[in-house]
Symmetry: C2
Subunit: 237 residues, 2 copies
Protein backbone atom coordinates (compact mmCIF):
# COMPACT_ATOMS: atom_id res chain seq x y z
CA UNK A 1 0.00 0.00 0.00
CA UNK A 2 1.31 3.42 -0.88
CA UNK A 3 1.51 6.01 1.85
CA UNK A 4 -1.63 8.13 1.91
CA UNK A 5 0.57 11.18 2.53
CA UNK A 6 1.57 11.04 -1.15
CA UNK A 7 -1.87 12.15 -2.10
CA UNK A 8 -1.63 15.49 -0.42
CA UNK A 9 0.72 16.56 -3.18
CA UNK A 10 -1.07 15.12 -6.18
CA UNK A 11 -4.18 13.05 -5.59
CA UNK A 12 -4.09 11.55 -9.11
CA UNK A 13 -0.41 10.64 -9.54
CA UNK A 14 -0.76 7.74 -11.95
CA UNK A 15 -4.22 8.31 -13.31
CA UNK A 16 -4.98 9.34 -16.85
CA UNK A 17 -7.16 12.45 -17.12
CA UNK A 18 -10.21 10.72 -18.50
CA UNK A 19 -10.27 8.31 -15.55
CA UNK A 20 -10.38 10.96 -12.85
CA UNK A 21 -13.77 10.92 -11.16
CA UNK A 22 -15.79 13.95 -12.23
CA UNK A 23 -19.31 12.69 -12.04
CA UNK A 24 -21.22 15.68 -10.67
CA UNK A 25 -23.21 17.66 -13.19
CA UNK A 26 -22.94 21.44 -13.07
CA UNK A 27 -25.99 22.84 -11.27
CA UNK A 28 -27.61 25.64 -13.32
CA UNK A 29 -27.96 27.67 -10.10
CA UNK A 30 -24.34 28.67 -10.70
CA UNK A 31 -25.42 31.11 -13.41
CA UNK A 32 -27.44 33.09 -10.83
CA UNK A 33 -24.08 34.06 -9.34
CA UNK A 34 -22.24 34.92 -12.56
CA UNK A 35 -22.77 38.59 -13.46
CA UNK A 36 -22.46 39.68 -17.10
CA UNK A 37 -18.81 39.51 -18.23
CA UNK A 38 -17.93 37.57 -15.09
CA UNK A 39 -14.38 36.36 -14.64
CA UNK A 40 -14.60 32.76 -13.46
CA UNK A 41 -11.90 30.63 -11.82
CA UNK A 42 -12.37 26.84 -11.94
CA UNK A 43 -10.22 25.43 -9.12
CA UNK A 44 -9.23 21.81 -9.68
CA UNK A 45 -10.54 21.94 -13.23
CA UNK A 46 -9.34 18.45 -14.23
CA UNK A 47 -10.19 17.85 -17.90
CA UNK A 48 -12.41 20.93 -18.17
CA UNK A 49 -15.79 19.33 -17.61
CA UNK A 50 -16.95 22.46 -15.77
CA UNK A 51 -14.75 25.13 -17.36
CA UNK A 52 -15.87 24.39 -20.90
CA UNK A 53 -19.66 24.66 -20.39
CA UNK A 54 -19.17 27.89 -18.43
CA UNK A 55 -17.01 29.28 -21.26
CA UNK A 56 -19.66 28.22 -23.77
CA UNK A 57 -22.10 30.37 -21.74
CA UNK A 58 -19.91 33.34 -22.66
CA UNK A 59 -17.86 33.84 -19.52
CA UNK A 60 -14.12 34.34 -19.27
CA UNK A 61 -12.88 31.16 -17.58
CA UNK A 62 -9.52 30.22 -16.12
CA UNK A 63 -9.09 26.60 -15.09
CA UNK A 64 -6.27 25.49 -12.80
CA UNK A 65 -5.07 22.06 -11.77
CA UNK A 66 -1.84 20.57 -10.44
CA UNK A 67 -2.04 17.63 -12.83
CA UNK A 68 -0.36 18.46 -16.14
CA UNK A 69 -1.93 15.48 -17.93
CA UNK A 70 -5.48 16.68 -17.36
CA UNK A 71 -4.62 20.24 -18.37
CA UNK A 72 -3.49 18.96 -21.77
CA UNK A 73 -6.75 17.08 -22.08
CA UNK A 74 -8.72 20.20 -21.06
CA UNK A 75 -6.93 22.33 -23.65
CA UNK A 76 -7.56 19.74 -26.31
CA UNK A 77 -11.27 19.44 -25.43
CA UNK A 78 -11.88 23.18 -25.29
CA UNK A 79 -10.22 23.64 -28.69
CA UNK A 80 -12.96 21.61 -30.32
CA UNK A 81 -15.78 23.65 -28.71
CA UNK A 82 -17.48 26.85 -29.82
CA UNK A 83 -16.61 29.20 -26.98
CA UNK A 84 -16.97 33.00 -27.37
CA UNK A 85 -13.70 33.13 -25.38
CA UNK A 86 -11.56 30.03 -25.08
CA UNK A 87 -10.92 29.08 -21.45
CA UNK A 88 -7.32 29.31 -20.23
CA UNK A 89 -5.87 26.30 -18.48
CA UNK A 90 -2.77 26.53 -16.34
CA UNK A 91 -0.91 24.56 -13.76
CA UNK A 92 -1.31 25.98 -10.27
CA UNK A 93 -1.75 24.85 -6.70
CA UNK A 94 -5.08 25.73 -5.06
CA UNK A 95 -3.32 26.38 -1.74
CA UNK A 96 -1.24 29.19 -3.30
CA UNK A 97 -3.10 30.80 -6.21
CA UNK A 98 -0.95 32.83 -8.64
CA UNK A 99 -3.49 35.66 -9.08
CA UNK A 100 -3.80 39.14 -7.60
CA UNK A 101 -6.45 39.71 -4.92
CA UNK A 102 -9.96 40.58 -6.13
CA UNK A 103 -9.48 39.24 -9.66
CA UNK A 104 -12.53 36.97 -10.08
CA UNK A 105 -16.30 37.26 -9.72
CA UNK A 106 -16.90 33.55 -9.23
CA UNK A 107 -14.77 30.62 -8.07
CA UNK A 108 -15.88 27.06 -8.75
CA UNK A 109 -14.86 23.85 -6.95
CA UNK A 110 -16.70 20.90 -8.35
CA UNK A 111 -15.84 17.48 -6.90
CA UNK A 112 -12.48 19.00 -6.00
CA UNK A 113 -12.44 19.32 -2.19
CA UNK A 114 -13.19 15.60 -1.96
CA UNK A 115 -9.64 15.02 -3.24
CA UNK A 116 -8.04 17.24 -0.59
CA UNK A 117 -7.51 14.93 2.35
CA UNK A 118 -5.99 17.49 4.72
CA UNK A 119 -8.42 19.64 6.70
CA UNK A 120 -5.80 22.40 6.94
CA UNK A 121 -5.29 22.39 3.17
CA UNK A 122 -9.02 22.65 2.62
CA UNK A 123 -9.18 25.73 4.87
CA UNK A 124 -6.18 27.27 3.09
CA UNK A 125 -7.81 26.63 -0.28
CA UNK A 126 -11.04 28.37 0.74
CA UNK A 127 -9.11 31.37 2.09
CA UNK A 128 -7.15 31.56 -1.18
CA UNK A 129 -10.38 31.56 -3.16
CA UNK A 130 -11.66 34.33 -0.87
CA UNK A 131 -8.58 36.46 -1.57
CA UNK A 132 -8.84 36.24 -5.37
CA UNK A 133 -12.59 37.00 -5.34
CA UNK A 134 -13.81 40.56 -5.82
CA UNK A 135 -15.87 42.05 -2.97
CA UNK A 136 -19.26 40.30 -3.02
CA UNK A 137 -17.83 37.60 -5.29
CA UNK A 138 -19.19 34.07 -4.95
CA UNK A 139 -17.78 30.59 -4.44
CA UNK A 140 -19.72 27.65 -5.91
CA UNK A 141 -18.99 24.22 -4.42
CA UNK A 142 -20.51 20.89 -5.42
CA UNK A 143 -19.19 17.91 -3.52
CA UNK A 144 -19.93 14.57 -1.94
CA UNK A 145 -21.70 14.13 1.41
CA UNK A 146 -21.17 11.40 3.99
CA UNK A 147 -23.65 8.68 3.16
CA UNK A 148 -24.08 6.74 6.37
CA UNK A 149 -27.29 5.02 5.27
CA UNK A 150 -25.31 3.13 2.62
CA UNK A 151 -23.86 -0.10 4.00
CA UNK A 152 -20.97 0.19 1.53
CA UNK A 153 -19.90 3.68 2.55
CA UNK A 154 -20.61 3.17 6.26
CA UNK A 155 -18.16 0.26 6.26
CA UNK A 156 -15.57 2.18 4.25
CA UNK A 157 -15.67 5.20 6.57
CA UNK A 158 -15.29 2.98 9.63
CA UNK A 159 -12.74 0.50 8.27
CA UNK A 160 -10.48 3.14 6.73
CA UNK A 161 -10.55 5.56 9.68
CA UNK A 162 -7.39 4.11 11.30
CA UNK A 163 -5.46 4.99 8.10
CA UNK A 164 -7.21 8.17 6.97
CA UNK A 165 -7.52 9.60 10.52
CA UNK A 166 -10.53 11.59 9.37
CA UNK A 167 -14.15 10.49 9.59
CA UNK A 168 -15.78 10.38 6.17
CA UNK A 169 -12.52 9.67 4.34
CA UNK A 170 -11.85 6.36 2.61
CA UNK A 171 -9.45 4.67 0.25
CA UNK A 172 -10.03 3.75 -3.38
CA UNK A 173 -7.98 0.89 -4.76
CA UNK A 174 -6.51 0.20 -8.16
CA UNK A 175 -8.48 -2.70 -9.60
CA UNK A 176 -5.42 -4.32 -11.15
CA UNK A 177 -2.68 -3.82 -8.58
CA UNK A 178 -4.85 -3.67 -5.45
CA UNK A 179 -2.81 -0.71 -4.27
CA UNK A 180 -4.37 2.45 -2.88
CA UNK A 181 -5.16 4.69 -5.83
CA UNK A 182 -6.25 7.70 -3.85
CA UNK A 183 -8.10 8.83 -0.73
CA UNK A 184 -11.41 10.67 -0.98
CA UNK A 185 -13.26 12.66 1.63
CA UNK A 186 -17.03 12.88 1.99
CA UNK A 187 -18.38 15.87 3.92
CA UNK A 188 -21.00 16.45 6.58
CA UNK A 189 -23.21 19.49 6.22
CA UNK A 190 -21.65 20.95 9.37
CA UNK A 191 -18.13 20.48 8.03
CA UNK A 192 -18.83 22.15 4.71
CA UNK A 193 -20.73 25.04 6.30
CA UNK A 194 -17.95 25.76 8.81
CA UNK A 195 -15.29 25.43 6.11
CA UNK A 196 -16.95 28.40 4.44
CA UNK A 197 -18.05 30.54 7.38
CA UNK A 198 -14.68 30.22 9.12
CA UNK A 199 -12.74 31.17 6.01
CA UNK A 200 -14.37 34.33 4.73
CA UNK A 201 -17.79 33.39 3.37
CA UNK A 202 -21.42 33.42 4.34
CA UNK A 203 -23.82 30.81 3.04
CA UNK A 204 -25.91 32.21 0.21
CA UNK A 205 -27.39 28.98 -1.19
CA UNK A 206 -27.43 25.41 0.09
CA UNK A 207 -28.93 22.33 -1.52
CA UNK A 208 -28.79 18.68 -0.56
CA UNK A 209 -28.57 16.58 -3.69
CA UNK A 210 -27.84 13.01 -4.75
CA UNK A 211 -24.87 12.28 -7.00
CA UNK A 212 -23.83 9.12 -8.80
CA UNK A 213 -20.20 8.06 -8.40
CA UNK A 214 -18.18 6.82 -11.36
CA UNK A 215 -18.75 3.28 -10.08
CA UNK A 216 -22.52 3.83 -10.12
CA UNK A 217 -23.15 4.25 -6.38
CA UNK A 218 -25.75 6.81 -5.35
CA UNK A 219 -24.25 9.10 -2.75
CA UNK A 220 -25.32 12.21 -0.86
CA UNK A 221 -24.10 15.49 -2.26
CA UNK A 222 -24.21 19.20 -1.61
CA UNK A 223 -24.37 22.25 -3.83
CA UNK A 224 -23.30 25.31 -1.87
CA UNK A 225 -22.79 28.92 -2.83
CA UNK A 226 -20.89 31.19 -0.47
CA UNK A 227 -20.72 34.97 -0.70
CA UNK A 228 -17.48 36.67 0.22
CA UNK A 229 -17.99 38.47 3.50
CA UNK A 230 -17.11 42.12 3.41
CA UNK A 231 -16.37 42.27 7.11
CA UNK A 232 -13.94 39.45 7.85
CA UNK A 233 -14.47 39.94 11.58
CA UNK A 234 -18.14 39.00 11.26
CA UNK A 235 -17.12 35.36 11.36
CA UNK A 236 -19.55 32.50 11.63
CA UNK A 237 -22.68 34.56 11.00
Amino acid sequence: MKKPANYRINPWPGIKGKDIPATIELDPVIYNYAPTDAMVLDIGCACGKVSIPIAIHGYSVTGIDINTDVLELAKHSSGSQQCPMSPSFLKANATALPFPDETFDLCVMQAFLTTVVSKEDRSRIIREACHVLKPDGHLYIADFGQTWHSNIYRERYINDLPVTKEEGSFMAYDEKTGEVDYISHHFTEKELVFLLVENGFEIEYFKRDTFVTRTGNRVNGFVVVGRKRLNMHDEGK
Copy 2:
Protein backbone atom coordinates in the same frame (compact mmCIF):
# COMPACT_ATOMS: atom_id res chain seq x y z
CA MET B 1 -35.64 28.91 33.29
CA LYS B 2 -37.06 25.48 34.04
CA LYS B 3 -34.68 22.58 34.37
CA PRO B 4 -34.30 20.79 31.03
CA ALA B 5 -34.39 17.49 32.94
CA ASN B 6 -38.16 18.00 33.36
CA TYR B 7 -38.61 17.37 29.71
CA ARG B 8 -37.35 13.83 29.83
CA ILE B 9 -40.54 12.90 31.63
CA ASN B 10 -43.03 14.84 29.57
CA PRO B 11 -41.76 17.11 26.84
CA TRP B 12 -45.05 19.00 26.54
CA PRO B 13 -46.02 19.64 30.17
CA GLY B 14 -48.02 22.81 29.75
CA ILE B 15 -48.88 22.66 26.10
CA LYS B 16 -52.34 22.07 24.72
CA GLY B 17 -52.52 19.19 22.26
CA LYS B 18 -53.25 21.27 19.20
CA ASP B 19 -50.15 23.38 19.81
CA ILE B 20 -47.69 20.50 19.87
CA PRO B 21 -45.43 20.66 16.84
CA ALA B 22 -46.45 17.94 14.38
CA THR B 23 -45.57 19.50 11.09
CA ILE B 24 -44.19 16.56 9.13
CA GLU B 25 -46.58 15.07 6.60
CA LEU B 26 -46.87 11.30 6.49
CA ASP B 27 -44.75 9.98 3.59
CA PRO B 28 -46.78 7.60 1.40
CA VAL B 29 -43.75 5.26 1.30
CA ILE B 30 -45.00 4.01 4.68
CA TYR B 31 -47.73 1.99 2.94
CA ASN B 32 -45.08 -0.08 1.12
CA TYR B 33 -44.21 -1.51 4.53
CA ALA B 34 -47.74 -2.17 5.80
CA PRO B 35 -48.90 -5.66 4.73
CA THR B 36 -52.64 -6.35 4.39
CA ASP B 37 -54.28 -6.42 7.82
CA ALA B 38 -51.14 -4.92 9.36
CA MET B 39 -51.14 -4.11 13.05
CA VAL B 40 -49.61 -0.65 13.40
CA LEU B 41 -48.21 1.01 16.54
CA ASP B 42 -47.89 4.81 16.46
CA ILE B 43 -45.33 5.68 19.13
CA GLY B 44 -45.69 9.24 20.43
CA CYS B 45 -48.98 9.63 18.60
CA ALA B 46 -49.83 13.07 20.04
CA CYS B 47 -53.23 14.16 18.74
CA GLY B 48 -53.47 11.36 16.17
CA LYS B 49 -52.24 13.20 13.11
CA VAL B 50 -50.54 10.01 11.88
CA SER B 51 -52.70 7.33 13.53
CA ILE B 52 -55.93 8.58 12.00
CA PRO B 53 -54.88 8.59 8.31
CA ILE B 54 -53.34 5.13 8.73
CA ALA B 55 -56.57 3.88 10.28
CA ILE B 56 -58.54 5.45 7.43
CA HIS B 57 -56.37 3.34 5.09
CA GLY B 58 -57.90 0.29 6.77
CA TYR B 59 -55.18 -0.73 9.20
CA SER B 60 -55.53 -1.62 12.84
CA VAL B 61 -53.78 1.22 14.67
CA THR B 62 -52.77 1.66 18.29
CA GLY B 63 -51.49 5.08 19.27
CA ILE B 64 -49.55 5.65 22.48
CA ASP B 65 -48.41 8.83 24.18
CA ILE B 66 -47.46 9.86 27.71
CA ASN B 67 -49.51 13.03 27.49
CA THR B 68 -53.09 12.43 28.59
CA ASP B 69 -54.32 15.72 27.12
CA VAL B 70 -53.34 14.81 23.58
CA LEU B 71 -54.79 11.32 23.87
CA GLU B 72 -58.19 12.85 24.65
CA LEU B 73 -57.82 15.04 21.60
CA ALA B 74 -56.81 12.05 19.47
CA LYS B 75 -59.82 10.05 20.63
CA HIS B 76 -62.12 12.97 19.90
CA SER B 77 -60.63 13.53 16.41
CA SER B 78 -60.76 9.87 15.43
CA GLY B 79 -64.38 9.63 16.52
CA SER B 80 -65.40 12.08 13.82
CA GLN B 81 -63.56 10.16 11.05
CA GLN B 82 -64.70 7.29 8.86
CA CYS B 83 -62.24 4.53 9.85
CA PRO B 84 -62.95 0.85 9.06
CA MET B 85 -61.51 0.21 12.53
CA SER B 86 -61.24 3.04 15.01
CA PRO B 87 -57.68 3.52 16.26
CA SER B 88 -57.06 2.82 19.96
CA PHE B 89 -55.28 5.46 21.97
CA LEU B 90 -53.69 4.69 25.29
CA LYS B 91 -51.26 6.20 27.72
CA ALA B 92 -47.89 4.44 27.67
CA ASN B 93 -44.19 5.20 27.87
CA ALA B 94 -42.16 4.46 24.74
CA THR B 95 -39.21 3.28 26.87
CA ALA B 96 -41.36 0.47 28.38
CA LEU B 97 -44.07 -0.62 25.97
CA PRO B 98 -47.00 -2.55 27.51
CA PHE B 99 -47.29 -5.06 24.62
CA PRO B 100 -46.12 -8.65 24.15
CA ASP B 101 -43.13 -9.27 21.87
CA GLU B 102 -43.87 -9.66 18.15
CA THR B 103 -47.28 -7.98 18.26
CA PHE B 104 -47.01 -5.40 15.45
CA ASP B 105 -46.10 -5.36 11.76
CA LEU B 106 -45.17 -1.70 11.67
CA CYS B 107 -44.08 0.88 14.25
CA VAL B 108 -44.24 4.58 13.45
CA MET B 109 -42.33 7.45 15.06
CA GLN B 110 -43.13 10.71 13.38
CA ALA B 111 -41.52 13.84 14.82
CA PHE B 112 -41.28 11.91 18.07
CA LEU B 113 -37.58 11.18 18.63
CA THR B 114 -36.89 14.92 18.33
CA THR B 115 -38.65 15.28 21.69
CA VAL B 116 -36.50 12.64 23.43
CA VAL B 117 -33.47 14.55 24.62
CA SER B 118 -31.61 11.61 26.17
CA LYS B 119 -29.49 9.48 23.84
CA GLU B 120 -29.93 6.48 26.15
CA ASP B 121 -33.71 6.87 26.10
CA ARG B 122 -33.69 7.02 22.32
CA SER B 123 -31.76 3.73 22.15
CA ARG B 124 -34.11 2.14 24.67
CA ILE B 125 -37.12 3.30 22.65
CA ILE B 126 -35.78 1.77 19.42
CA ARG B 127 -35.05 -1.53 21.18
CA GLU B 128 -38.57 -1.55 22.63
CA ALA B 129 -40.02 -1.03 19.16
CA CYS B 130 -37.83 -3.90 17.93
CA HIS B 131 -39.20 -6.22 20.62
CA VAL B 132 -42.86 -5.55 19.84
CA LEU B 133 -42.35 -5.97 16.07
CA LYS B 134 -42.96 -9.31 14.41
CA PRO B 135 -39.99 -10.90 12.64
CA ASP B 136 -39.33 -8.84 9.49
CA GLY B 137 -41.52 -6.05 10.86
CA HIS B 138 -40.65 -2.46 9.97
CA LEU B 139 -40.04 0.79 11.81
CA TYR B 140 -40.90 4.04 10.02
CA ILE B 141 -39.23 7.20 11.33
CA ALA B 142 -39.66 10.75 10.05
CA ASP B 143 -37.72 13.35 11.95
CA PHE B 144 -35.72 16.55 11.82
CA GLY B 145 -32.11 16.79 10.61
CA GLN B 146 -29.40 19.15 11.81
CA THR B 147 -29.58 22.19 9.54
CA TRP B 148 -26.16 23.78 9.79
CA HIS B 149 -26.58 25.90 6.68
CA SER B 150 -29.32 27.87 8.44
CA ASN B 151 -27.88 30.78 10.43
CA ILE B 152 -30.78 30.48 12.88
CA TYR B 153 -30.29 26.82 13.69
CA ARG B 154 -26.48 26.98 13.60
CA GLU B 155 -26.60 29.64 16.32
CA ARG B 156 -29.14 27.72 18.37
CA TYR B 157 -27.12 24.48 18.27
CA ILE B 158 -23.97 26.31 19.34
CA ASN B 159 -25.47 28.67 21.90
CA ASP B 160 -27.59 26.01 23.60
CA LEU B 161 -24.91 23.29 23.72
CA PRO B 162 -23.68 24.26 27.22
CA VAL B 163 -27.19 23.55 28.55
CA THR B 164 -28.33 20.70 26.32
CA LYS B 165 -24.92 18.92 26.38
CA GLU B 166 -25.78 17.36 23.02
CA GLU B 167 -24.90 18.77 19.62
CA GLY B 168 -27.99 19.42 17.53
CA SER B 169 -30.24 20.02 20.55
CA PHE B 170 -31.73 23.41 21.32
CA MET B 171 -34.27 25.12 23.51
CA ALA B 172 -37.65 26.49 22.52
CA TYR B 173 -39.05 29.28 24.64
CA ASP B 174 -42.56 30.21 25.65
CA GLU B 175 -43.40 33.43 23.84
CA LYS B 176 -45.25 34.91 26.79
CA THR B 177 -43.21 33.88 29.81
CA GLY B 178 -39.80 33.58 28.12
CA GLU B 179 -39.26 30.31 29.97
CA VAL B 180 -37.93 27.19 28.31
CA ASP B 181 -40.93 25.38 26.85
CA TYR B 182 -39.08 22.27 25.73
CA ILE B 183 -35.82 20.98 24.25
CA SER B 184 -35.74 19.51 20.75
CA HIS B 185 -33.06 17.43 19.10
CA HIS B 186 -32.15 17.52 15.41
CA PHE B 187 -30.34 14.47 14.05
CA THR B 188 -27.36 13.85 11.80
CA GLU B 189 -27.65 11.09 9.23
CA LYS B 190 -24.94 9.14 11.05
CA GLU B 191 -26.74 9.44 14.38
CA LEU B 192 -30.07 8.21 13.03
CA VAL B 193 -28.48 5.35 11.07
CA PHE B 194 -26.51 4.10 14.09
CA LEU B 195 -29.55 4.48 16.36
CA LEU B 196 -31.23 1.88 14.15
CA VAL B 197 -28.37 -0.46 13.26
CA GLU B 198 -27.14 -0.64 16.86
CA ASN B 199 -30.60 -1.43 18.22
CA GLY B 200 -31.89 -4.26 16.07
CA PHE B 201 -32.62 -2.86 12.62
CA GLU B 202 -31.10 -2.64 9.19
CA ILE B 203 -31.78 0.30 6.94
CA GLU B 204 -34.37 -0.57 4.30
CA TYR B 205 -35.21 2.91 3.00
CA PHE B 206 -33.60 6.31 3.54
CA LYS B 207 -34.67 9.68 2.18
CA ARG B 208 -33.39 13.19 2.86
CA ASP B 209 -36.30 15.59 2.85
CA THR B 210 -37.12 19.16 3.81
CA PHE B 211 -39.73 19.87 6.48
CA VAL B 212 -41.35 23.09 7.61
CA THR B 213 -41.41 23.75 11.34
CA ARG B 214 -44.51 25.10 13.04
CA THR B 215 -42.83 28.52 13.04
CA GLY B 216 -42.35 28.35 9.27
CA ASN B 217 -38.62 27.57 9.16
CA ARG B 218 -37.44 25.17 6.47
CA VAL B 219 -35.34 22.48 8.04
CA ASN B 220 -33.61 19.27 6.93
CA GLY B 221 -35.49 16.08 7.57
CA PHE B 222 -35.17 12.34 7.14
CA VAL B 223 -37.63 9.59 6.33
CA VAL B 224 -36.14 6.25 7.34
CA VAL B 225 -37.54 2.73 7.30
CA GLY B 226 -35.70 0.04 9.26
CA ARG B 227 -36.34 -3.69 8.97
CA LYS B 228 -36.09 -5.78 12.13
CA ARG B 229 -32.93 -7.87 11.87
CA LEU B 230 -33.51 -11.57 12.34
CA ASN B 231 -29.99 -12.18 13.59
CA MET B 232 -29.38 -9.70 16.37
CA HIS B 233 -25.67 -10.53 16.37
CA ASP B 234 -25.30 -9.24 12.82
CA GLU B 235 -25.01 -5.73 14.22
CA GLY B 236 -24.17 -2.73 12.15
CA LYS B 237 -24.51 -4.44 8.76
